[in-house]
Amino acid sequence: MVPLTWYLFLAAALFCIGVFGALSRRNAIAVLMGIELMLNAVNINLVAFWRYTDLGQMTGQLFAVFVITVAAAEACVGLALIITIYRQRHTVNVEELDTMKG
């Protein structure tokens, strides 16, 4: 049986890789990929805690399902935005998308 802490270490490492990807990449789609990795790390934690502390209820798994749902909705809208921005500006480099700056 694998101890709980291993899963938590894995999730922490995955989350940090996701943070790095989301903050350091120039392309907006790559940023979104980093965010998906972070959400997955959260899911690993949710399911690991369900498995090791909360077997009587399904809360951990239920939460993970809802996180996946939200991730799907987020990807839909996020990627639609990116496509539209690309169509108008011919770039999806997040550093050049600063029209809102005063």
Partner: protein, 162 residues
């Protein structure tokens, strides 16, 4: 045996995740992302959450990754691998991420987690289904509304205007 499986799966997941954030070609990033999702599905199986594993494959690999690959191909000129993949602050961000990991790892290893032993119920899927329409009915209905709103919004945004 389980430890070996865990080690292999986490190596796959973490290796693929690192490739996701460092590969210059966006399409290859997306393919590495699929491998990472697959590794995570394996981790879910190890945690006896088989329904979530299949959800992971169905939604992340089947749907979200396809969406991402489409988006990459639709904004194709940015796939030019010669332009820098990182922004200027990537060194700083890398340091921050490493620090974050050290902090999280310290917390994880210090805290004594209250682990409860028990048998995994065999009817997890029935219980999930019962919970969706039972105590979690509000999130369940909101999930449907959220999905539809996201779809409508995305259609309005992405539609080509004549």
């Amino acid at each position: 045996m389980q430890q070996v499986a865990f080690a292999v799966l986490s190596l796959i997941t973490l290796g693929a995740a690192i490739m996701v954030v460092t590969t210059p070609s966006l399409l290859r990033s997306a393919l590495w992302l699929i491998l990472a999702f697959f590794g995570i599905a394996g981790i879910f199986v190890l945690l006896n959450a088989d329904f979530l594993a299949i959800t992971q494959i169905l939604v992340y690999i089947g749907a979200i990754s396809t969406l991402m690959i489409f988006a990459v191909m639709l904004s194709s000129k940015v796939m030019d691998p010669h332009q820098p993949r990182f922004n200027e602050q990537w060194g700083l961000v890398g340091g921050f991420s490493a620090l974050l990991f050290v902090a999280l790892a310290a917390i994880v290893s210090r805290v004594v987690w209250p682990v409860a032993q028990g048998e995994v119920p065999v009817d997890t899927i029935q219980r999930l289904g019962a919970d969706f329409v039972g105590p979690y009915v509000i999130p369940f209905e909101i999930a449907s509304v959220l999905l539809v709103v996201a779809m409508i919004g995305a259609i309005i945004i992405a539609r080509e205007r004549e």
